[in-house]
Symmetry: C2
Subunit: 461 residues, 2 copies
Amino acid sequence: MKSLIFSLLFISFSGSLYTQSFNNNNLKHYSNIADEIITSSLNDTVGYNLARYLCKNIGSRLSGSENSLKAIKWAEKTLIDMNPDTVWLQPVMVPRWIRGNVEKAVLLNNNLEKTLNVAALGRSIATPEEGINAGVIEVNSFEELIERKNEAKGKIVFFNYRFKNSFVETFNGYGDAVKFRVDGPIEASKAGAAAVITRSITTKYDNVPHVGTIRTFPDSVKEIPAAAIGLIDAEFLSKSLKENPGLTINLKLSARNLKEVLSYNVIAEIKGTEKPDEIIVVGSHFDSWDKGEGAHDDGAPSVQVMEVIDIFKRLNIKPKRTIRCVLFINEENGLRGALKYAEYIDSLKENNIAAIESDRGAFTPRGFTVEADSSVISKMQKWIPVLEKSLIDWVKPGHGGADIGQIKNAKALIGFVPDAQRYFDVHHSDNDVFEEINAREMELGSAAIAILAYLISEEGL
Amino acid sequence: MKSLIFSLLFISFSGSLYTQSFNNNNLKHYSNIADEIITSSLNDTVGYNLARYLCKNIGSRLSGSENSLKAIKWAEKTLIDMNPDTVWLQPVMVPRWIRGNVEKAVLLNNNLEKTLNVAALGRSIATPEEGINAGVIEVNSFEELIERKNEAKGKIVFFNYRFKNSFVETFNGYGDAVKFRVDGPIEASKAGAAAVITRSITTKYDNVPHVGTIRTFPDSVKEIPAAAIGLIDAEFLSKSLKENPGLTINLKLSARNLKEVLSYNVIAEIKGTEKPDEIIVVGSHFDSWDKGEGAHDDGAPSVQVMEVIDIFKRLNIKPKRTIRCVLFINEENGLRGALKYAEYIDSLKENNIAAIESDRGAFTPRGFTVEADSSVISKMQKWIPVLEKSLIDWVKPGHGGADIGQIKNAKALIGFVPDAQRYFDVHHSDNDVFEEINAREMELGSAAIAILAYLISEEGL
């Protein structure tokens, strides 16, 4: 891109495709507030700096871990420093799973004793200390597993289902492939398998295992250990099996499910000036997997909803309705935080009129997907001329979020949708580190969520 | 993002905010073609692999350099291998500027003899071999330069204007700051300065100089050398000047303007089956600066428009109108390729009905900005239900592009607009390398441009 020729045509262009306007004369006022929010976010990068601290000084935050408690204390203190009306911790028991020190898969009777890059899947049990020595059967569907049930007995089942890159929405590619990680272990056990190795669900071709949870085994099915394998090693294993179908692997995992422990949701709120009983939740899950730093999933998005509180406070915006930031614990392997929060608001008969969730990474904003009556969605679509300042191009019907999905009777459950092309490059893996966050992209997300929360607080739904 | 809870709600959702439909019954047909194009782009990553070759095996492509000729030959051969109807080189004389081996700025009478990270700006002349020893005056506006004219005489003028991060559209931040790089040297010379050092125009805080062209000096103004400085060193220099306003710098640059040399635009086309005389240009500039690999500017975008040819050929799509890929040479420091091409089509009275330019990086598609009558733009907006498959959310009035901007009488000059939050992290610098390209983001851009070219070829404008 050249300097001399590139004209000022690009500057100051702010055409909107939406011809509808607000039913009141507040458009100009709201636009000014939106500009203030965006300018402050991009200039001050408060959220980005907090995300650096969370990722680099605390790190990953698996439910029940000591690190997760350290992070919770940090979030509580950080929110208190932002000076909202209330900050509190909501106790909740969470499952505790630990990876342990040993995860190793060695190809035994290959020409060279090659070690494969594996990582235990969440909730997996350990192998015996000496490992499981077993042959391997590669399958690419549950149908194939059932057909080849006799072969699977006593073996390690290797689910080698490839992420379908042709899905434009990477979340759909994830949705297509994730059943093998989630349900694969139970299905393999039903077929008599000794263990499971699953190809990582990722858009990035490297050798980093991408983990995530497996479904809890029902009592009727014997628990077996399960691990993810990096893509390069998955290809290697598949090729090795073609050359030598009789190869065996020694798989050692030391993962364990421990007793439930006490943890907390972190909650902060700014009381509404006119309708304090109408609560707008901005939420994100604060736990992560124990790989990488949980930067995009869901550290930076958690900081985005924390920053919403700070934006209101530092710009002295006094919302008519209450803005409540909720950092939910244990989304990844239990959803206990979200269930506890929902139980709490039910018991108080609180009116959570809307909830916005950030759990798709901290990339450039694109839109909001909304679970609501069409009249509510239509109302929100009229706000596009304000929202588009932060690069929100659309508001569409669609998924809200896993945590806010537990909230009953909200008028709108809203998912923040950033660009997702790179999300599964890093998701649930050692790739998910602070360096993958771009300050501008993240801050525009904070701004977009803050602007929407503000509009709901002023206009209702 | 959790696995179990994330529902299939996200899958298969394809609601459009646009209720208008095509005036014909071709929507389904076009949608199928778009799906084919997208699937092939994302699965085959033809363009991404070509971009790897261009960046890694050839590298940067400054106009007139041997490397640029190597790249032109590679592009010609690559396009021939795609088997379109025509591939040819269009000769054009281009300016030749070389950086030379020496670029060094040493802070002399500081406590330590610190070397600053500088790089000559395009078209800059050399310093004397022993360098320029001069004091430094920091200014942040042309007004300040004029006010402090007496101080500037014989000095190195240090333009330390900061990129305004508050611009949501980074191109606007660039447009705001670039005058100091482009016009700074002439203005400083008018004030009697000996040389210029300019703060790099970038969104990334590191110490990498970002280069780019300066305006050609008019005969009446004495040429002086000019260099860009990395942001960390710009801050250091500014701080040092506050502590010691009398500090001097020894600046050595060996850059030179050589005689013009012969170069080429590369042109390939697929003849239309029904209206071959109506030509749709897909264009990009093939030259780059000599820093980094010219990956996002404008290597990958050049490959995107090359890939449009390949997409039509490999999917056996026979366009009604002619599709012509033009790789323009010398956009960065002369625009000679674009001017030659425009002269050529004028001389033949060719009917270039539309042109689409890719020169804003190879990030995730967002939209198209269009210079055209409003009726033409309205027509294109009706295609959104097809275009949005490749993540094109909007078609708006706006800038087409520097190269296609030379084409007279086109019905539409169209700029492809990807996400631009990271573009100026890499622009014109050693940061602009292949590793900064994401395969999916780039391929969705190829697909978006191909789909739009296809729609124009079928529907006209």
